[in-house]
Symmetry: C2
Subunit: 301 residues, 2 copies
């Protein structure tokens, strides 16, 4: 990985720049909706801020650039919407009735900082507001509808919510690989797929580009979730910014638990390569998408 004079790789600098772009858009979208109730606004801002790397948003922006050579305004709005939906899912997932977690992104979870009612409503607010901004801000109705469709399908009861439900229920029974793939595909990978597909839509991709990038996103999402499972076994809470060892403690179905650590690492390598293979028709403009796949092999948190 090439590094610059300050010792950061180009990839890290690019990722940090994209985070700034998305954070600025999130702040602008919140600030411009003047009628948001102040307590809800405070909880929305609290949970959106933090040290998160905005991987899903970055992937969306890079997919737009891979197709069109540039990162346009629609892509920035769509990236903000994806991060709102991702953040909503974390808030609700952390609730006492769900995963019951006290730490997230290195600080108290929303229901710990405020209270449960505020956390439920702040999650609902972020989910709804994501669709509000996509419907109001995207400069072309056909693109807006396509973006909303991708996001809603990935986040809905045949996507992320299906994965969360299966994940919660998996705590009480012995998992197998089929269940594991169902959970990871639905809970995580479909949102990565949606982020990539949304970037393709913003870049005005043709059908073939749209499909390749969607497949790339799906593979990266699975890869990301399996490394998450691995890190839960191998890292400290301090490194992760959330409670480590939690999955094992909750007797959750994870890749290391079901197929072992070494085999899990092998699958991560295979998926990263498959993701890179999906980018064959793209040139230099897909460099960061390729690097993202490589980075996941070396993920520390």
């Amino acid at each position: 990985m090439p590094t610059n004079q300050a010792g950061h790789s180009d990839f890290d600098v690019e990722l940090a720049n994209n985070k700034k772009v998305v954070d600025a858009m999130l702040e602008r979208l919140l600030a411009e909706q003047k009628q948001i109730e102040p307590n809800i606004m405070q909880a929305m801002r609290y949970t959106l801020e933090g040290p998160g790397k905005r991987i899903r948003a970055a992937m969306l922006l890079w997919c737009c650039r891979a197709v069109s050579g540039t990162i346009n305004e629609n892509a920035k709005i769509a990236a903000a919407a994806v991060e709102m939906v991702h953040t909503y899912s974390l808030i609700h997932d952390d609730l006492p009735a769900m995963d019951n977690d006290d730490m997230r992104r290195g600080k108290p979870t929303c229901h710990k900082k405020f209270d449960e009612a505020t956390a439920i409503l702040a999650g609902d607010a972020l989910l709804t507001f994501a669709f509000e901004v996509l419907s109001e801000r995207i400069n072309n109705p056909a693109a807006a509808v396509a973006l909303i469709g991708e996001l809603a399908a990935a986040a809905g009861p045949a996507g992320m919510i299906a994965g969360q439900m299966a994940d919660l229920r998996s705590q009480k029974k012995k998992g197998n690989r089929e269940l594991l793939e169902y959970i990871h595909t639905n809970k995580t990978a479909k949102m990565f797929h949606a982020a990539a597909a949304m970037g393709a839509i913003c870049g005005d991709a043709d059908r073939r580009q749209y499909e390749s990038l969607g497949e790339y996103g799906l593979k990266i999402g699975l890869c990301f979730q399996i490394t998450d499972d691995i890190l839960d076994v191998c890292s400290s809470s301090e490194q992760l910014g959330k409670t480590a060892g939690k999955d094992t403690k909750a007797d959750k179905v994870t890749y290391p638990a079901v197929i072992g650590l070494e085999k899990s690492r092998e699958i991560v390598r295979e998926l990263a390569q498959q993701a890179i293979d999906e980018l064959q028709s793209f040139g230099q403009e897909a460099v960061f998408l390729r690097q993202l796949a490589m980075e996941l092999l070396d993920r520390k948190k």
Copy 2:
């Protein structure tokens, strides 16, 4: 009110017919999304079914007819989406951390029937699925975007969620009329406004029709919520199908508590008349919209 041979008014028959139309559409939309996780599907169906009158949906269908003379497929889909969002709001509102209610529509609330995690996820699922069906099923992208925008803005942090947050916090302090209007407008009336506006959009309304019907919806929504407050004081749980006297018990800000029962009834009459006045430019095709306003004056549950 004219009654037919079976002793039911034309209005009641029309309302029951519209409920059948919307229930059939809800069932079709759920059945056609084959990938919904089975436990989530069960909770979605459980909460969507029940003796609810589907007032918001009926208003949407009638507004479409007032403008276009007919109830088209887009209006049926939009009406189903509105009922999904309304039902989600009830599920989350009933949660222990929120209003903590055990009965809804005459049966156990979602978290009582299943568990809290399922109720949180089923609510999330209905909210997300509403946007999924609007993005996928409406046959014209500009109309789809407009419908999604209306629904998201009304349900979001500058609408229903703002009202719920203010309502929850109002339990702990003395309310005044300004706060009361803020809560009722945001928590209830904006969704009625959205339903009416969405009906107008489905009927391809001109700007003036769209605005009149939106105002009609807003007035009806306020009228509906104040009668709800009045019924909470004056009816039994059996009549309501939910716990009666709950608002008073929770020391909530309600119209009867803040301005008294008689003055509340007077405001209901004024709002109903104002709603009817908004329909002046419509003829016979708006008959049920006018009757709805009259019915609210005589609401028993």
